[in-house]
Amino acid sequence: MAQVVEDEEILSKFREEKTRTEAFNLLVKKYQQKIYWHVRRMVINHDDADDVTQDVFVKIWKSLINFRNDAQLYTWMYRIATNECITFLNKKKAKNNIPLDDVSYELAESLADSTYFNGDRAQQKLQEALLTLPDKQRLVFNMKYYDDMKYEEISDVLGTSVGALKASFHLAVKKIEAHLLGHD
């Protein structure tokens, strides 16, 4: 198993012109899956997730030289990924000129038809319930449920207060439970 490289070491190498590509290589290896799954759970479709993930890392490549240690590296990357996801979903809505509910429906259809989804019935229902939520509540739930992130970390990513996040998460869980019980 490859040794996990510390963020500080990656940043240090990235600041050097000679080792910049090596540093970025290490960064991608370390975080590509986390970023991908974060994106995938938002855009559902694998091809879309692939495109968005690549865009996210290109932005990271462009912006990493300006990164200061005001936040943790991975929360900073999550913020970029989150912004890219929301931008992608908004473009999808604008491109297809469809309301939010229809986007959720389309994403649910995509989930059902996806080759790369092997969850059971309960997991599919959970995903369908998630797709009924507003984007921000879905983001909070995903980061809490799948990534086990702390409210403070989510707060760094979304730029929202912890109290507001707790309220959003509470609302999201209530809606999901109602959806699951309604379908059962």
Binding site: Y36, A122, Y146
Partner: protein, 334 residues
């Protein structure tokens, strides 16, 4: 209390969610993340190359300063071109174009062919040397005589005054250029005058063309007019009749009659309108005249008793009857 360290404990409150497996239900193609790694690096490299290329590109100095103005003028030109009417050519232009081109070609060919046919007057080149020599002599003579040029005596002394007067005249002319005025409606009237003159000329021309006079008419006309107007007739003397209106007898009688009528009318009117005459004509006089005297006396007696009762009672009673009887008699006598 739930803490972030134990954040999975929240699932205990939501059994329906707790029953869902927390495994990631999404999958990716085999070897995807290896390919993703390469793809991201490739894109990053491409992006870096593009970025480097972008930094190598340069623009002329002040390009971005002028860009806004350039774009603005470009937009204005485009808008003007869009609003401009469609281009047009004179009527029949394309029909005549072939003939015009043909004639132009013919002229060009003729000019080219005639270049070798240029001619000079006969004996030109023979006289050329002599002409040049004389021209040279004239030029040399002029150059040599430049020092001998003279001016009239006192020319330069008067020159300043002449120039000053010339300048004053020029300025005066320039200043008065704009001061010329014309009467109001001059040009309107001029147009009408010209039009009327033309009409008169035309009418005269037409009359002279359409009417004719006997031969030598105008020669005899003057003498005829003079013969009819130059011999005055003798004046006829008539005595004026002067009528004296005041001396006639009719006037005297009429005046006397008018006086008599006026005096008579004055007397009649004054008598008719006197208070006695008015009283005579009044209704009360006529009504009382019809009443018998005995009735009037009785009436007055009764009225006098009623009116004088209080005073009479208070007065000395024996004289009352006698006084009333006298008053009544006076009234009846009236």
């Amino acid at each position: 209390m739930k803490s972030d360290m134990d954040n999975r404990l929240w699932l205990n409150d939501y059994l329906s969610i707790q029953q869902v497996k927390t495994d990631n239900p999404f999958t990716v193609p085999d070897g995807y993340f290896d390919a993703l790694h390469q793809s991201i690096l490739s894109r990053a490299v491409i992006d870096g190359v593009n970025a480097e290329n972008n930094t190598g590109l340069t623009v002329p100095d002040g390009y971005f300063d002028d860009l806004a103005a350039t774009l603005q003028s470009r937009i204005a030109v485009e808008a003007a071109m869009e609003n401009a009417p469609a281009m047009s050519v004179p009527e029949g232009y394309f029909e005549q174009m072939q003939a015009d081109l043909h004639s132009r070609v013919t002229i060009e060919e003729a000019m080219q062919n005639s270049e070798g046919d240029l001619t000079v007057p006969q004996g030109y080149f023979e006289e050329m040397q002599v002409n040049l020599q004389s021209r040279i002599s004239i030029e040399e003579a002029l150059q040599n005589s430049e020092g001998d040029l003279t001016v009239p005596q006192g020319y330069f002394e008067e020159m300043q005054a002449n120039l000053q007067s010339r300048i004053n005249i020029e300025e005066a002319l320039q200043h008065t250029t704009g001061d010329f005025t014309i009467p109001a409606d001059y040009f309107e009237d001029q147009y009408q005058q010209i039009s009327s003159s033309i009409m008169v000329e035309e009418l005269l021309n037409r009359e002279s063309e359409g009417f004719a006079v006997p031969a030598n008419y105008f020669d005899q006309l003057q003498s005829n007019i003079i013969s009819k107007t130059a011999q005055p007739k003798p004046a006829v003397k008539r005595n004026a009749v002067i009528r004296k209106l005041f001396a006639t007898s009719t006037y005297k009688y009429a005046t006397a009659a008018c006086f008599l009528v006026a005096i008579g009318a004055t007397l009649i009117i004054s008598k008719f309108e006197s208070p006695e005459a008015v009283h005579e004509r009044s209704y009360i006089h006529k009504a009382l005249a019809a009443v018998p005297d005995a009735d009037l006396a009785k009436y007055l007696e009764i009225s006098a008793d009623v009116d004088a009762m209080p005073n009479a009672t208070q007065a000395a009673g024996s004289k009352t009857d006698a006084a009333d009887a006298e008053a009544l008699k006076k009234v009846l006598d009236l």
